[in-house]
Amino acid sequence: MIDYIYLTIVLPLLGFLINGLFGKKIKNEKVIGIIGSATVGISFLIVVLAFFETLALPVEDRSNTVNLFTWLSVGGLNIEFGYLVDQLSLVMALVVTGVGFLIHVYSIGYMHGDEGYWRFFAYLNLFIFAMMNLVLGDNFLVLFLGWEGVGLCSYLLIGFYYDRKFEKSTVPDAAKKAFIVNRIGDFGFLLGMFLIYFTFDSLNFNEVFTKAEFTSVPESTYFLIGLFLFIGATGKSAQIPLFVWLPDAMAGPTPVSALIHAATMVTAGVYMVARSAIIYASAPTMLTIVAVIGLLTAFFAATIGLVQNDIKKVLAYSTVSQLGYMFLALGVGAFSAGIFHVMTHAFFKALLFLGAGSVIHGMHEIQDIRKYGGLKSKMPKTYITFIIAAFAISGFPGLSGFFSKDEILWYSYANGNIVYWLIGALTAVMTAFYMFRLVSLTFFGEARYDSSVHPHESPAVMTVPLMILAGLAVVGGYVGIPEIFSGEHGNLFHTWLLPVFEPAEQKLAHMGSHSHFEEILLMAVSVIAALGAMYGAYKIYTEKLNKVERIRAMFKGVYTTLLNKYYVDEIYEAVIINPIVKTSRTILWKITDNKIIDGIVNGSASVVEIISGIIRKFQTGVAQFYAIVMMAGIALVFFWIILSL
């Protein structure tokens, strides 16, 4: 099955073409939905088979490349359309196709009745196509193809409801914002790719990484490559400073938020950094920058999420925060921990978003959590799955989120320092708090919506995926049980990924080992703090709702800043966007375009005019004049004859 891995990419493309070209004519929603979901489902099966096949191979043979055809062969640059099936890409592919399939099924029910139904599934399939190119590609260019592709699909899907308004502007504006901010990151990515090619003469992963491991290149080059690639990652994975598009991306339908902005696209940056681990490991300064930015993003996003009132906004900032955790893990050299968190986060975040979608669907499109309350009895299945996800993300012991987040926190202490751990643990506490604030305000307490709204549970086609994801959120962590618990088996996930990250981890020459005691101590502290936050949030937002108003009034300034997301968008607008627009108008347009470029173009035409004006005088029409010229020519010929004699 490994050799047929390209089918996992071709099938979604086929789904896109069928639904895209003929979707409008196929009036039957079920058919469209089945075509869209089946392609992803079959791709998932193929990936599973490839996974088991790889599992059966000895460890040294687990990296295989499947070449489809040569894409470019220009000068010294030879790019194949090749797919790398190794441990890391299989994990990503499983997540993408698995969670993707569940979300496709969910969308069959969620998008019911929408007149753009066929368009939605076509775009979703196109997205899976691009994402699979991204995670399976064996060189930077195919990865970039997928990178751009998912950016495009993100734009198409965010702007799905293209005729609606969204907050202060319109839905298309939100889509454009996502695309443009992503492009800024892509610029960095491109620079990184150019530098890689310039340094290593190739863009193929195996070639580049082997060279990076063995040949000596100045550390500053690695630093620059890592920096540029990371700029791309901040754009795609919504880190500081390019995270501003993710909250606006909530303008799209909820399954889109689940698939793209929680489980898959935003993790592309994490995947890319993890894949290039050897490059980052060769420039430890850059790795520190990655960790710091990840940490800061995690912290600040969590603070913003504490006070948001839109259910999807809370989840959006939560995503930004969790992505920060993943980068923190990568930044301290715990690459497999970062990928582990990608996987578990996909499970519970997708579940959270889909559950939110179920709530929104049941509440007739109301998204303000202040208008929710007491939905526990009205939507039981949604409630149970949602709270399981909330427990998972808050790090309740035994669930998937606990294992992955704790591993990150441990490594941030062991490979980093106590400050990393402290801020990380604080963020975890805030995560627990705002999640349970959300849960309490939505499902517990008194109903705060008026009587015209009749919330109802969602149909099975939507709740079954929720339940499957909930199961995964519960058991998904057991592949990554840390050594202290699993004894001699070690961390299975870590072992599986070890061959991919070994060169990088060796270069980082880790610090000495810390005792198991420290690990258990820190774990206990963070768990207790998180449990406390969960309980506290539950209590405040269920029973003592009136106290909230008073607390709000006490911290008025802090509250407004947080509510307005630290005014980041406004600052960008004033500092970056407006000057650029002004400069473009006055200088680039009026001077460069009008005067210089037009001047050159018109000027060259004037020169031609002048010269032709002079030459024109030769055509006098007077035969005698022509005769004189002919005679002069004859004189010249005579000269030539004389000279040649």
Partner: protein, 102 residues
Amino acid sequence: MSTIPIEYYLILSAFMFSAGVAGVLIRRNAIVVFMSIELMLNSANLTLVAFSSYLGNVAGQVFVFFVMTVAAAEAAVGLAIIIAIFRNKLTVNIDEINIFKW
């Protein structure tokens, strides 16, 4: 029997030819231009006859005979054209007969 070097005749012929060329290029009266052309033809005749005499070959003079014939025909037709143009434009000043000019 010729003690005159042939170059003398050739140089005289060249002189007459250049004079004819100058006449064609400078004069404005169409008939005078025609006469200059006749002058050029005659200079060529002189060359031909000179060579024919010095080589003892009569072919040169036969050729002169034909040149004269053609010159006569050409003069007749050319003058007829001038008369026809004169009827329309009432001038033989070639500066004013600028029908070529756009």
